[in-house]
Symmetry: C2
Subunit: 216 residues, 2 copies
DNA sequence: TCCATTACCTACTCGCGAGTAAGACTACGT
DNA sequence: ACGTAGTCTTACTCGCGAGTAGGTAATGGA
């Protein structure tokens, strides 16, 4: 009478594809909670409900596993934002949509976002290449969005203008997403609108009572 | 003929006070380059030009050493910004000065800034308390600055308005400081002015050619 | 029914790095 | 000259966690 002593009765003999997803899910969760270095393969395997050698067999060593997480999450996020921005709406509207889906993504996928955000900013890990690349793609996306927003306006912006602006905008968005954790009473839309107001109107306008509101 | 085999001839028998500074300097440097977890006490001791037990004797265990670094750097930064903002200049001008000294601090003290910034955002380390506290103080400082800037204007802002704005502003500043690393041709003043323009004017204004410039 | 393949596990090795034991050297006061 | 307080070192221990060796058991095709 050995039986399942304790814990969940480890679902057994699942096809590789399913296990890989479970492992990735667990890895994202643990990496988000502990950071790359403090996350142990043992804990990930435990959360995944699978033994450690499986991780190595399916996803490779620790940094490969981490990279797989980053790849999956960043692809999802970038495609989400890219999709929202690709339309023939006026550029301001595109920006508004992009911000909205960003905060919605963060809400639905806090762990994934944490991995992308918290780990990207903490260098010294062996992960550099993939993380740098995802950030790069995100920046290009945002910069394009901004550039389009100025096309045909009085002062079309040059890349050397939009680039730092894109960086600052991304930073503001990330900071707001962090702030959200401690102020969960706000909605994704509310956050997006706040940020839109800051970006589009600026403090000088807001103080004078000029605000931005989405078109109906 | 033992002699100094190699490397610098380790200055010997210095007073404690001096050694502590050397150790802190080395620690900040290494923590910035590698991150908390990847920094080894061995490397710090080597950079400091001192043997490992000295670190433990003078500054305590690894996390205590780290906390000492954070304390020193955050105090310096916050007092610098606080000092620049404390004046009876018009609020806009105060903000402008605060941004300027911030970027100047980052320029002069890249390693210290990296420790404060990169490590604060990467949780899972045992450092939480001190890092949370420093960020808290920084936020309060910025929020006050913003609140003052709206006093007596048409739409004085409530704390629940300034708080997320402060978070976003800080995030934008941090992101811009990061961006600076890859674009070192810019000056601290230039960066501060860019950010001031984003914060005060907003994209909508900039596109129309309305910009902010410092008063002479 | 038997073999091959694929899923999966227990139980290790082994290096790296935090932290320490135990003492050595120097300077200064008396 | 000699103790004592403070500086500083070499040379360890020891646990944690990455990665693996070597096997078991279920499934599906012949």
């Amino acid at each position: 009478m050995k039986a399942e002593d304790n814990g969940r009765p480890r679902s057994r003999r699942l096809p590789r594809e399913v296990r890989e997803r479970q492992i990735l899910d667990a890895a994202v969760e643990v990496f988000a909670a502990r950071g790359f270095h403090n996350a142990s393969m043992d804990e990930i395997s435990e959360v995944a409900g699978v033994s450690k050698p499986m991780l190595y067999a399916y996803l490779g060593a620790k940094d490969e596993l981490f990279i797989a997480c980053v790849r999956r999450e960043s692809t999802l996020l970038i495609e989400t934002i890219g999709g929202a921005a690709e339309s023939d709406l006026p550029p301001v509207e595109q920006l508004w949509r992009a911000l909205r889906v960003f905060f919605e993504y963060v809400q639905r996928n806090r762990a994934g976002w944490t991995v992308l955000h918290r780990q990207t900013n903490s260098q010294g890990e062996p992960n550099v290449a993939e993380l740098v690349e995802w950030r790069e793609r995100a920046m290009v996306l945002i910069a394009e969005l901004l550039a389009r927003a100025t096309d045909g306006s009085a002062q079309p912006m040059q890349p050397q203008q939009t680039e730092p602006f894109a960086a600052a905008l991304a930073g503001a968005g990330e900071a707001l997403a962090d702030w959200w954790v401690d102020n969960p009473e706000h909605t994704a839309d509310g956050l997006a609108m706040r940020l839109m107001n800051m970006v589009w109107m600026g403090f000088g306008d807001l103080v004078e009572g000029r605000t931005w509101t989405p078109a109906e």
